[in-house]
Subunit: 141 residues, 2 copies
DNA sequence: ATTCTTGCAAACGTTTTGCAGGCAC
DNA sequence: GTGCCTGCAAAACGTTTGCAAGAAT
């Protein structure tokens, strides 16, 4: 569990020109604590005790994503996953229970260069999504 | 434009034990013609002239995906993309206009091995999704 | 004749929008 | 005080389900 640094979050918001509100600080703390990709309803569950509305979560998390504080992960085709944007990494995802594990140190540079060399319509790539799907050990046995 | 071989599609369906219906043959022809990942509503547009219901498209395309005739692609977090399952490849996706280009010959074997070596919870991977996002030349200029 | 498939209507879950009141600055 | 944020209500959107009629085998 990483420590929550509200002061840092507040500064981060101020720097961007966003108002520092309780909802935003709470949201950032949730995203920082659970460093795994979470759906909006995952986040909502953790905010049961608060008065923070679902719509406020949607608006702010999407805002954070636009700014880059948060990253979207393409894990399912019917629900958005958001995670705090720390070091670049990808995920292993269990197709049965949904468990997500990070993996780092993946080098996609060569791959992307190769793709661009082949490409007719693109000459640069800004982001990429790489997700590995399988069964986790528990579900496999 | 690949030629549509209805006879082959019919045989494909029969082999699996699915009934050969006009809706299914038409759907397969749409998927085979446009070999790019398409949303359900993309497909629906191409079937405007027919009496094929949206629900029939959902049910059959999902069925095809389960069987493996069709593959899902994780291109957006709010809509499913389906494409005819031919050779293994990935996509370059324009973040502005949505244009999709295929790229082949990507070797992810090492990458996946590396991920599994690191992993605590997984010892095999069945599928993976790799999508590259950027601006196509038209949108970039 | 039997079973599977379809279309229609309705429900469902996620996400977006409009608006008035409230809070940060 | 001004402008941005929030909560509430309602709508929009993609997708799924139930059911009766129809088509494929």
């Amino acid at each position: 569990m990483p420590k929550i640094d509200y002061k840092h979050s507040a500064q981060q918001l101020q720097k961007i020109g966003l108002k520092v509100t309780p909802a935003r600080l709470t949201l950032l703390s949730v995203l920082q604590t659970h460093r795994q990709p979470q759906t909006i309803s995952d986040i909502k569950k953790q905010l049961k005790k608060t008065r923070i509305d679902l719509v406020t979560i949607y608006r702010n998390v999407e805002l954070f994503a636009k700014i880059g504080i948060v990253k979207k992960a393409l894990i399912r085709d019917n629900e958005a996953f958001y995670e705090y944007n720390s070091t670049h990494h990808h995920h292993l995802v269990c197709q049965s229970c949904g468990r997500i594990e990070d993996f780092e140190g993946c080098n996609t540079r060569n791959l992307i260069e190769k793709a661009l060399k082949q490409s007719q319509y693109f000459n640069s790539i800004k982001e990429h999504s790489l997700e590995l799907f399988g069964l986790c050990k528990t579900c496999a046995s």
